[in-house]
Symmetry: C2
Subunit: 565 residues, 2 copies
């Protein structure tokens, strides 16, 4: 047995119980996590937190140490949404041809090592990423603009759990194929005995696009699904959020090296907005798999042009809320306001469109008019935005300078067709006075104004949409989710029959529904091992993270057979 | 519970043990079959055979009774390769828009019935197809030109086993998703309990293209995989081999009707060579899945243009043989000659190119020169072609009138660049004096003449290719399989190391290898539940029949979640 395999198999032994638990959780869809969600429970204690923060600070203004093949220059350009100052980190800019060549050269030994060794190394990668989660969290904060807690939990521990989930699926799919079989039957008067051997063969080189606002969340599962099934991965970060992925790539390379595999199984391919390289990667003759998270427009191009590469995409989210009837309005408003404010609605799962019947929402004996509801929702959001202790931790920072411009443009346009229920304004972040911030813009429109709300308006922009009645509210919300690409959906109703209809309507629209949720859990929280993220049934993406289909085609099966005495 | 569900669930109860056995066979890859392979062991006895033959005869010259929506005319055109007379059967020609609309309308209740009911109905379809296998065999014989035994076993029982195999995979993939889960965790000081419900949602309408020479073999698994996962299927037969698929469609519709489902879940869409409809079906906005078996040229178009529909394809087979060394030449020649003659090499798995080292094949102490080998192979094939008791049963009939033309054209062209080792000629079929027959053309060329043998030459055309040495034989054969699309591959060598290299080379080329096989089993026999047909790694197709990837993306998963006290 080769040296790399030996070490990787030791890792497999070590992490196998965790994988087994993850697999069970995927089948039961019950709560599971390998990692505590709060920094204070990290196994490294306060020292790990300090070390992570120190490592991040030490990296600022310096060359990122990533020794990979194909370097033809350096590139930088990230700006912290919190300080609006350049991070000053520069990265190796690579020639894609050389990255593909290095990746292909690395794949032979990796494929030959077999599923267990690969799963062992992948679980070790997860473990090391957890080790370095504090540094990653800082990197996410200062590129994507997430809050500290979200960058730790959402981009750290939850993203890692989603990576393990993908590994559990990869293991399940690969374990369908035995290494060997004895097959025997009669042909005429002869008995034929064949020994058959089966091999799992990777597809080839995967290209993984990470997005600007939540880079690790889909990238970890995609990278790990490709690696576990034997492929190499070229990671293409968004030019504004390179550091989180550069750290992940460096960790992967270190683990692979430690085991004796070629680190070129995972490389980083950076580009700039001025000179984008994405299309070249997708159309590269050696690209075998493309995982894409990003804009709806480029995503549609990727989906249509990835062939012959496999393509798994997640793009926009036109996420809808229907408020039909409530036991009590206050908790609903609170949940909606919080979720529409959370990370300034820069998540693919953030609710955007709230549909309300013109004749109002039933609340016990009384009806809350659509206008009254809109005003109350605006007030609930304002209560967050105007509270200095809540605004910054909940809303965090705005990733892109384009977002405030879009907000102002929409606010100006709406004058003709609707009404601004809540104006958007910068708010103060006590810790980062220079932070790019914006409180949510809330707009009231009639359901005719679909050109406003029928697509994703990325950032803290919400619509209260008045529909003719409650049936229209549900029908239009589901239709908009289907046409525009809804990932999540939310319905509030006290009527069992209405909820059943909502379940059916959103299932047909391909949006994952949450009913009557209030309280401490963010409405759009997606749990690894339990919630299927994206259905692949509408323009929000063509894949689910993670189901069997997300992993099963990443490898192929070859066989040989030979007569046995 | 709805009536259709009740009956279908009874069928599920009845067929569940068979499905369970099939699933176990898929995991173990051991021998399994639900159906005896010889007509004499059919449960209906001789009466069933007679009834099948009578039904076929009664159908000739008549309208095919298929009552489905969207009929806009009638169409006929099939000609028996055995009699070269028109079958005179006419079929309803359908408006594709209306078939898609009917299919979509039928899907709601089918999707809602759930996996077990659908699997029950699909197993009942398999059972009824077995009931009618004698009629199907006649239909295959007189459209595709297969021999009687092959049309019964290959196009009948083996094709049905492959359908059950697809059902077992569909069941495995669907059973990954529970109907319901309880999820519970703390958020801050609150406990959140959510009941989650998961639904399997079909992709939509599948289009299944069946091929001219082996229509049922890939169509059964594709149709059943789509149906079991909740989709509707529009079957598009090759215009020269409509009857086998028309019978299958009618059986499907009958079973679905019997259970109370809409029969429009399965419809037939015929066309003619003059007015092909394939592209319109593939690009139809409602097409969600395309299964394609057919020519490499149209297959490449389908693969490139199916998006956004899923595409599963199987096209050509440039199937290669390397003869490096043998214990005894005779059994090898016999196996090669038989397999190259079987059904006149009109199978996607038929060997075409035989690579021989220039310095000859080691056989014990002596070397068999390349010329000597070519002559001996020609003699072995001639021994079949010239034996009236063997020629017709083994070689059967030539499906397409284009094939004899291609044979003659190649024979003429080869004069410049190679040598005809065995000329092709019609042979007498005692039972069908008018049968379109051709004995194999065997051509000797040097490895430079890749324009001759680098692509599939459909029909009884073989090449003996002389290479510089044994390493070149293997390297070129594997490279040709990779570039041209090899499904099967065959190596003869007495050296373990050479066989190991062959395993690695063909695994990389994506062709399924058989080593040193001689004796009663046809070299290219593919066993349901054990052999993975097509790797998806080369131009021979993009999918494997059947693996998890063949079924797992045919449905999607939606969910809803709701707080529980």
């Amino acid at each position: 047995m080769s040296a790399p395999r030996t070490m990787a198999l030791q890792w497999y032994e070590q992490h196998e119980p965790a994988l087994r638990q993850a697999r069970r959780a995927c089948l039961e869809r019950s709560y599971f996590s390998l990692f505590p969600e709060t920094p204070d429970r990290h196994r490294g204690g306060a020292a790990a937190a300090d070390a992570g923060a120190a490592a991040f600070r030490a990296q600022l203004g310096r060359m990122f140490d990533l020794r990979q093949p194909g370097t033809v220059g350096r590139l930088s350009g990230e700006v912290s949404p919190y300080t609006q100052a350049p991070l000053g980190i520069d990265y190796p800019r690579a020639d894609p041809d050389l990255l593909f060549a290095a990746a292909e050269a690395a794949m032979g030994a990796w494929a030959a090592a077999g599923p267990q060794a690969r799963l062992g190394a992948c679980m070790e990668i997860v473990d090391r990423l957890y080790e370095g989660v504090f540094e990653t969290a800082q990197a996410v904060m200062h590129t994507a603009g997430q809050s500290g807690p979200m960058s730790y939990a959402g981009s750290g521990t939850n993203a890692l759990d989603r990576g393990v989930e993908a590994l559990a699926y990869a293991q399940a799919a690969m374990s369908e194929v035995p290494a060997e079989a004895l097959w025997e039957r009669r042909f005429g008067s002869s008995n034929i005995r064949l020994r058959k051997r089966y091999r799992l063969v990777p597809r080839g080189v995967a290209v993984c696009f990470a997005c600007a606002t939540f880079p690790t969340w889909n990238a970890y599962p995609a990278m790990l699904a490709s690696l576990a099934t034997g492929n190499a991965v070229i990671v293409k970060p968004h030019p504004t959020a390179i550091l989180p992925m550069a750290l992940a790539v460096r960790t992967c390379r270190q683990v692979l090296s430690d085991a004796g595999f070629s680190p070129d199984l995972v490389t980083l391919c950076v580009d700039s907005a001025d000179d984008p390289i994405g299309k070249r990667l997708v159309k590269h003759p050696r690209a075998a798999i493309v995982d894409f998270t990003g804009s709806a427009r480029f995503g549609a191009w990727v989906e249509a042009n990835a062939h012959p590469a496999l393509c798994f995409s997640e793009t926009s989210g036109v996420n809808t809320v229907v408020v039909e009837s409530v036991e009590a309005l206050e908790p609903v408003l609170k949940s909606l306001a919080t979720s529409m404010s959370l990370f300034s609605a820069q998540m693919c799962t953030s609710p955007q469109n709230v549909y309300v019947p013109r004749d109002g929402i039933r609340c016990g004996e009384r009806r809350i008019g659509a206008d009254e509801f809109g005003a109350a929702l605006a007030a609930a959001i304002a209560a967050i935005a105007n509270d200095p202790r809540r605004a910054a931790p909940i809303m965090a920072a705005i990733q892109s300078p384009a977002t405030p411009l879009l907000i102002d443009q929409l606010a100006a346009e709406v004058a003709q067709r609707g009404r601004v229920l809540l104006a958007s304004a910068p708010f103060a972040n006590p810790e980062f006075p220079q932070a790019r911030t914006r409180s949510p813009l809330l707009i009231s429109v009639d359901s005719g104004a679909k050109d406003f709300y029928g697509e994703e308006r990325f950032g803290p922009i919400g619509f209260v949409i008045t529909t003719s009645d409650r049936d229209a509210a549900l029908a239009e919300a589901a239709a908009d989710a289907r046409a525009g690409g809804g990932i999540t959906a939310f319905v509030y109703s006290t009527e069992a029959l209405y909820l059943e209809r909502a379940e059916a309507a959103y299932s047909a629209a391909g949006a994952q529904l949450t009913c009557n949720l209030t309280g401490a859990m963010p409405l759009n929280f997606a749990a690894a091992y339990s919630d299927y993220h994206v259905t692949g049934m509408n323009p929000a993406g063509n894949a689910t993270l993670t189901d069997l289909a997300f992993v099963a085609a990443r490898f192929r099966i070859t066989q040989s057979r030979m007569p046995m005495p």
